[in-house]
Amino acid sequence: MCLAIPGKIVSIDKEKEYATVDYGDGTKRKANVSLVDVKIGDYILVHAGFAIQVLDEKEANETLDLFREMLSSEEET
């Protein structure tokens, strides 16, 4: 139920209500984007047909580094 799937926005309709989302595996579907502020190219999380958040690509790429840093900083303390 609370599952949400990431996808990339390839187009947005004029009213900014729906976007076409590419899920990377060849499937493209429409999602309601009225709960988020998005632009073409953004990665979003989609739940029950609605985008619920825009993903932060920079944070995503840095996640593992952040974890390593946290784990090693504990050793110093």
């Binding site: 139920m1 609370c2 599952l3 949400a4 990431p6 309601n32 009225s34 709960l35 988020v36 502020d37 990665y43 999380l45 739940h47 029950a48 047909g49 609605f50 619920i52 958040q53 993903l55 932060d56 690509e57 944070e59 995503a60 790429n61 996640t63 593992l64 952040l66 974890f67 390593r68 946290m70 784990l71 504990e74």
Partner: protein, 359 residues
């Protein structure tokens, strides 16, 4: 892009936890967390490191009450078109499930989201269409968003939405088990952010970590909890920073505030939990199935509907027992012959346990 399957890092986290030589019990409230834990054997692995993790009331289908199911069954029986999310239709009521009613000719539709239910209403103007809206803060904004637009007048919502923080408080207040830390659900937190959990750490001195859904996310969350405990701290940390923002999704929160107000509601296995449910504000009473069909529902109002005989879903949802400790697990109760909702829903811990542990 979001692959977090670094084996070395996983091993490193596990060995660090093991070294600390702890004996702790954590609870999470999310079917997807349980799926990741059991599928990857992390629950077993962490137990060997002194950390037991169990699923609490974190499965929207499972915490739905027998009364709410009977409300939907009655609507179906009375000739309405009823719609809801996948697993919900298979949850047994006292004598029937929605799926049984469908085979008997009632109009029961499974939808992927509320917008599909609105389309059904638009395309069949002569029918009353009721959507059973289940789900936590992740899903409630989708219901709100639809009601804020002009939905057709033959459409209504049976709101069974619930919110997570009051349930955490209820678990602690009931005091049936000692919980050393909570792993908080990533996608609920995507909407509500960090703040709504803070009172739990302050008032109950229980650490919390908001976590994502990859194996590394959960291991990291466990390590962060253990680390807080060894330092004698209790606060809310966010492991899932790549998705969960400090303030959450403000647009979604606003939509929820516009449409819903808090209500005291029962959860399966729990008594009434104060301010834990979302009911439609008066402004939206035209779309509120409980108001619109109040007379029809009257016949249920003085009745009590019990949990299925022998089913221990209540104990499972309160974290008192693991699914395997239910005597019906794997014999009388299986995914093909589910007795309770925890075996029906793919997010229920009984269903997850059955699927991944070869019964």
């Amino acid at each position: 892009m979001f692959s977090l399957r670094d084996k070395n890092l996983a091993n490193e986290i596990v060995s660090k936890i093991k070294k600390l030589d702890v004996n702790l019990k954590f609870m999470h409230v999310c079917g997807t967390h349980q799926d990741t834990l059991v599928k990857n054997g992390l629950d077993v692995l962490l137990k060997k490191c002194g950390v037991k993790i169990g699923q609490g009331p974190g499965c929207p289908v499972c915490v739905t009450t027998p009364m709410e199911i009977e409300e939907m069954l009655l609507f179906a029986q009375n000739g309405k078109t009823v719609s809801t999310f996948g697993d919900m239709v298979n949850v047994p009521g006292e004598t029937h499930s929605l799926q049984n009613m469908k085979t008997e000719g009632c109009d029961v539709r499974t939808v992927y989201g509320i917008e599909d239910a609105v389309s059904i209403a638009r395309n069949s103007k002569d029918k009353d269409v009721v959507f059973m809206a289940i789900g936590f803060e992740t899903t409630a904004p989708t219901t709100a968003s639809v009601l804020l637009k002009n939905s057709p007048s033959n459409f209504s919502v049976l709101s069974c939405h619930r919110i997570i923080p009051p349930a955490l408080k209820a678990i602690l207040d009931m005091g049936e088990l000692k919980i050393d830390g909570f792993i908080e659900p990533g996608h609920v937190s995507t909407i509500i952010g960090v703040k709504p959990y803070e009172f739990i750490s302050k008032e109950y001195n229980v650490p919390q970590v908001i976590a994502g859904f990859e194996p590394i996310d959960l291991l990291m969350a466990v390590w962060m909890l253990v680390h807080q405990i060894t330092r004698g701290e209790a606060s809310v940390e966010n492991e899932y920073v790549r998705v969960v923002k400090e303030d959450g999704n403000i647009k979604a929160q606003k939509a929820m505030d516009d449409v819903f107000e808090l209500a005291d509601v029962k959860w399966r296995g729990f008594p009434v939990i104060p301010k834990s449910g979302l009911k439609l504000k008066d402004k939206f009473e035209g779309y509120d199935a409980r108001k619109k069909y109040e007379d029809e529902l009257q016949e249920l109002r003085n009745r009590e509907f019990k949990e299925p005989p022998g089913c221990l879903c209540g104990d499972v949802l309160r974290g008192l027992i693991s699914s395997k400790e239910c005597p019906l697990f794997g014999n009388k109760c299986t995914p093909n012959t589910p007795v309770g909702p925890c075996m029906v829903s793919i997010e229920g811990s009984c269903n997850i346990e059955y699927r991944y542990t070869n019964y």
